[in-house]
C-alpha cells in the first residue's frame, strides 16, 4: 500500500503527472473573480468564502479522471486487482494520493488567495480549517466517480455530472463555516456537520468504489 502511495506521488510530480495543475487553476479562478467583480472590497469580502470553496471544488474535479484512467490504460489496474492488496485498500490509497497532490496544496494556498478577495481577518483560520476538513471528502467522492466511469472513453464530463451533485453537502457546510467564521459568528454546528460528512464518506465510500471498480474491470 505504501509502495502504491509513493508510486502515485512520484508519478504526480514527474513530467505529465499534473501536479500543480489544480493549484494553478484555483489561482487563476480566484484572480478572475477578483478582476471580474472589481475593486469593491466590501462585496468581495462577502462572497470570498463561497468563491474560494467553489474554486477549490472545481480545482479538485480537474484531476479526478486521472485517478484510475491512466492505470486502466497501461494495464496496471488489472495487475493491481490480482495483487495481494484488497481493492478497498487500493481505492483508499488512490484517494489519499489525490488528496495529497491536489487537496492539500489547495488548503495551504486558500488563505493566501483569500487576501486577494479581502476576506476579513477572523475568517482565515476557519477557511483553512473548513478546507482541511472538507477536501478529503472531495477526494473520496471523486474517487468513487472515477471508479464509476473508468471504463468509458471521454468519461470525464459524465464523471463531473455525477460527482458535482455529491459535492453539494460538503460545499454548503464548508462555505458556511468559512462565512460564519469571517462574520465572527459561532461555527460549531456547520463545522461538526462538515466533519460528520467527511467521516461518513471516508468510512463508506471506499467499499462502494471498490465494488464498482470490480464490476468495471470485467
Amino acid at each position: 500500500m505504501i509502495a502504491l502511495l509513493t508510486r502515485d506521488l512520484k508519478l504526480a510530480v514527474r513530467a505529465g503527472g499534473g501536479f500543480g495543475l489544480g493549484l494553478a487553476f484555483f489561482l487563476i479562478l480566484v484572480a478572475l473573480v477578483a478582476f471580474g467583480v472589481g475593486p469593491e472590497s466590501a462585496l468581495l469580502a462577502r462572497i470570498a468564502p463561497g468563491i474560494l470553496w467553489v474554486g477549490a471544488l472545481l480545482a479538485c474535479l480537474l484531476s479526478l479522471d486521472r485517478i484510475f484512467a491512466l492505470d486502466r490504460e497501461d494495464g496496471s489496474l488489472d495487475l493491481l486487482a490480482t495483487a495481494p492488496l484488497p481493492m478497498e485498500g487500493i481505492v483508499t490509497v488512490k484517494a489519499l494520493a489525490h488528496w495529497i497532490t491536489t487537496g492539500l496544496p489547495l488548503v495551504v494556498a486558500a488563505p493566501l488567495l483569500a487576501l486577494m478577495l479581502s476576506l476579513p481577518g477572523e475568517g482565515y483560520l476557519w477557511l483553512f480549517l473548513s478546507l482541511l476538513l472538507g477536501t478529503p471528502a472531495l477526494s473520496v467522492l471523486g474517487t468513487f466517480g472515477a471508479a464509476l466511469t473508468v471504463g468509458l472513453k471521454r468519461g470525464g464530463l459524465l464523471m463531473s455530472l455525477i460527482v458535482l451533485p455529491l459535492y453539494v453537502p460538503t460545499l454548503i457546510f464548508g462555505a458556511e463555516v468559512a462565512r460564519r467564521g469571517a462574520g465572527g459568528l459561532s461555527v460549531e454546528v456547520p463545522l461538526l456537520l462538515l466533519a460528520g460528512i467527511t467521516c461518513a464518506t471516508l468510512a463508506l465510500l471506499p467499499f462502494a468504489s471498490a465494488a464498482v471498480l470490480r464490476v468495471n474491470l470485467r
Binding site: A3, A83, P84
Partner: protein, 207 residues
Amino acid sequence: MEMKVTDLAVARGGVPLLAGVSFTLAPGRALILRGPNGSGKTTLLRALAGLQPPLAGEMSFDREAVAYGGHADGLKAQMTVTENLTFWAAVHGLREIDPALTAFDLEGLRDRLAGTLSAGQKRRLGLARLMVTGRPLWLLDEPTVSLDTASVGLFAEAVRGHLARGGMAVIATHIELGLPEAEVLDVGPLKAVLPAAQLDDFDEAFL
C-alpha cells in the same frame, strides 16, 4: 497445490464464448492454450485470474497464487526499469529484482525510463514482473508479442526455471514456445453453443 478446473463456462460482453473447459495442472507443469482469434482465450485467462466471474463451472486453486500477465504490461512510462520492477516487487512483499533483470537481459537498461524502451524491451520488462511476484501460477496472455527469437528463448528459459521450482503456467499463444513438455489445450472445439430457443425468445421481446 494442484490447479483443477471443471466445466468452466465464460462469457464476454454477455456473449457466451467457451463452455465445458476442464483441465488439471500439477505443480511443475505448463498448459498451452490454443485457438483462433476471438475463441475466448483471453476471457478464459481473465476468469481464471478472478478478474471476471465465470458463467458456470468450478475452479479450485488459491486465488492468491495467481500472477496475471495480460496484453498490457502495466508499466509507467515516467518511471525507470528498476522503479517499475521494484514497485511490483513491493506490492507483492518482495525486494529482490536482480534475478528477474538478469533472466530477461535488462541489466543494461536499469536506469532507462520505461517510456523510452522499444516494444520488445517493454514486453521483456512486463514478463520480468512475473518473477518478482513470487507467485506459483502464471497466467499469460500472448506473452511473446513483439519479442524477437532470442527473447522468446529467454522467456521459455524463464518459464522452464519457474516450472522447475514447482511453479505452474497457463499460456495462451499462437507460436511455438519451445516447451515440448507442456500440455496443450485447444479451446476451438469448446465453443459455447447458444441455445436456439432462448435466442428466439429474446428477439420476440422486441417484435
